[in-house]
Symmetry: C2
Subunit: 368 residues, 2 copies
Amino acid sequence: MENETAKSFDKHPHFIVREAEPFNAEPPPRLLRLSIVTPPELFYVRNHASVPEIDADSYQLKISGLSNRELQISLAELRERFSSRTVTATLQCAGNRRDGLMAVKEIGGEVSWGAQAIGNASWTGVSLCDVLEFAGMTTDARHVEFIGLDDVERKGARFGFGGSIPLEKGLSAEVLLAFEMNGAALAPVHGAPLRAIVPGYIGARSVKWLGEIKVKSEPSENYFQAHAYKLFPPGVSAQTVDWNEGLMLGEVSVNSAICRPQEGETVRTGKCTVQGYAMAGGGRGVERVDVSGDNGQTWTEAKFDADDSSRWVWRFWEAEIDLMAGEGQIVARAWDSATNTQPEDARAIWNFKGYMNNAWHRVNVFVS
Amino acid sequence: MENETAKSFDKHPHFIVREAEPFNAEPPPRLLRLSIVTPPELFYVRNHASVPEIDADSYQLKISGLSNRELQISLAELRERFSSRTVTATLQCAGNRRDGLMAVKEIGGEVSWGAQAIGNASWTGVSLCDVLEFAGMTTDARHVEFIGLDDVERKGARFGFGGSIPLEKGLSAEVLLAFEMNGAALAPVHGAPLRAIVPGYIGARSVKWLGEIKVKSEPSENYFQAHAYKLFPPGVSAQTVDWNEGLMLGEVSVNSAICRPQEGETVRTGKCTVQGYAMAGGGRGVERVDVSGDNGQTWTEAKFDADDSSRWVWRFWEAEIDLMAGEGQIVARAWDSATNTQPEDARAIWNFKGYMNNAWHRVNVFVS
């Protein structure tokens, strides 16, 4: 049964729906790898409640938590008062590649994502720093909280999805309040009329249907900052967790995935062309991608599609490797500009919420 | 036979000399872990030529590569014109823990470092950004090169050890031209009368005996930027290397090491107290350290000595783990604020120059 969200969204016929309501979906690997800028109908959707209906004409963005004033700004005022800015940025869900962690050990109550809970778009809006400067800030401001207009239910309470970023990040020119995606108006499913865009951070901080911005001295206490989207050690479970602990996710770690061939595909013996993406978080560059057909005994250095890239944008890569007949496995790993690389084994990363799987990406093929 | 360098340096009696001339030395793990601020006599020394004799009174720092002017500044002028600034920062050699890579496969012509080619000090000097602002810059400036007054010989040429950092980093307040270490004048072996301090970057960029600063449009062509201190893929050797390729090292990757017990030590059965350090590069924080006595089957979360830390400073940690009688191995790994973590196996990192070993640190003990 098609739900309201799926109906209102002109999704691609091959979009892989992981959950119908709230709507959660990702594209097939092959389609994701077709274009460095992901079309909206193939851009992953990670929602935590139904898409809210918002009247753009009467919409007001609230800015609060400041000592000196509390503001409400309409979309027209935002566009008029602040200069428009476009940033191309790749967003990646903290749960991207969760399927690889679920294969290690059960993870309860979370969406099983493949390696396509990631997408790249050019976002147009106004710089958060311009808006914060205009609004003024208290001297003890350290964090910027975003709260959405959606209606999430957790533990009996209803509230808008939210989270915060450090003020230092919030003042960086790349952080936007965006109303356009790839040159067109944002689709409701992607956060219309206005969403935060926080390049280099987990997708959850790029809050959709932005209703309120709060400048704070401490990180957000919203469920999705204080409970969810935290990394816990491998020994912690839903039964033993202390929610005051854990690493609040922010910048993403270096990651890469093979998009072609896909899992289970049959390929010919001999030279096999392998294609994928790689992404480094926090503005670090992807410097190298290694591909192996023998579980890392030997590696082939991949070639990037473009020589240079923006620090907020993923890189597409391609390599040719030799495969012997029979069951084969192709492995990929990336290195970032700080020489961080991906761990070999997903077992070393497993955590009960299933976040930040950046183990070597493995695709099993049949070689004939 | 004691050489000039060693004689002029009041080194600790337990300092481990890896090479007498040029002088290369690191402290024993146990002594390194005694104090969060490393005393100069225990601070690792990685030199590429003899310590130059420099007369501080006649010393002039040259600043060049600018369209509008070329400057010479004496130490007295530096101190007088610019406000003094102290930054506590951990420096780490790109070759730290090379011994672990050498155990995988031969690495020719490089110093075999343990896990103590790292140290932390409070550095006092002037901010590079203040000096650059005073000197003025061309609009196409993108990199800042540092050149030392030492006399290195490579491939028949003689030159000062050098390297560069991106201008963006050079303009960050934490980058210093330092004349003091831990509140006292810099020792000659540590770079007197003036050295660069580039927190969060490999130690090689903190050029000692600083003679010249050049603002450039491209990275330094100095041997130690264009040839050495580059990360090559595992399949590349000294025979096959193309020096135009490779990742120019800059920010360091997340790392940790066990300092107590030390390799080969005998410890009692039962609870064993494990102590070590952890460091994240590029201003990222160390968020968690995991310690295991069963090769990562189960992990114990370490406690940090201090709750909070500066983003440029390592963290000391301690954990209690259970060890069974017999031959045991203790393993440690750290996670940074971007959830980058250490790879399990040094074989996955091996490169022919032996840089950036951040595999899980392993210490073999005998439990009785």
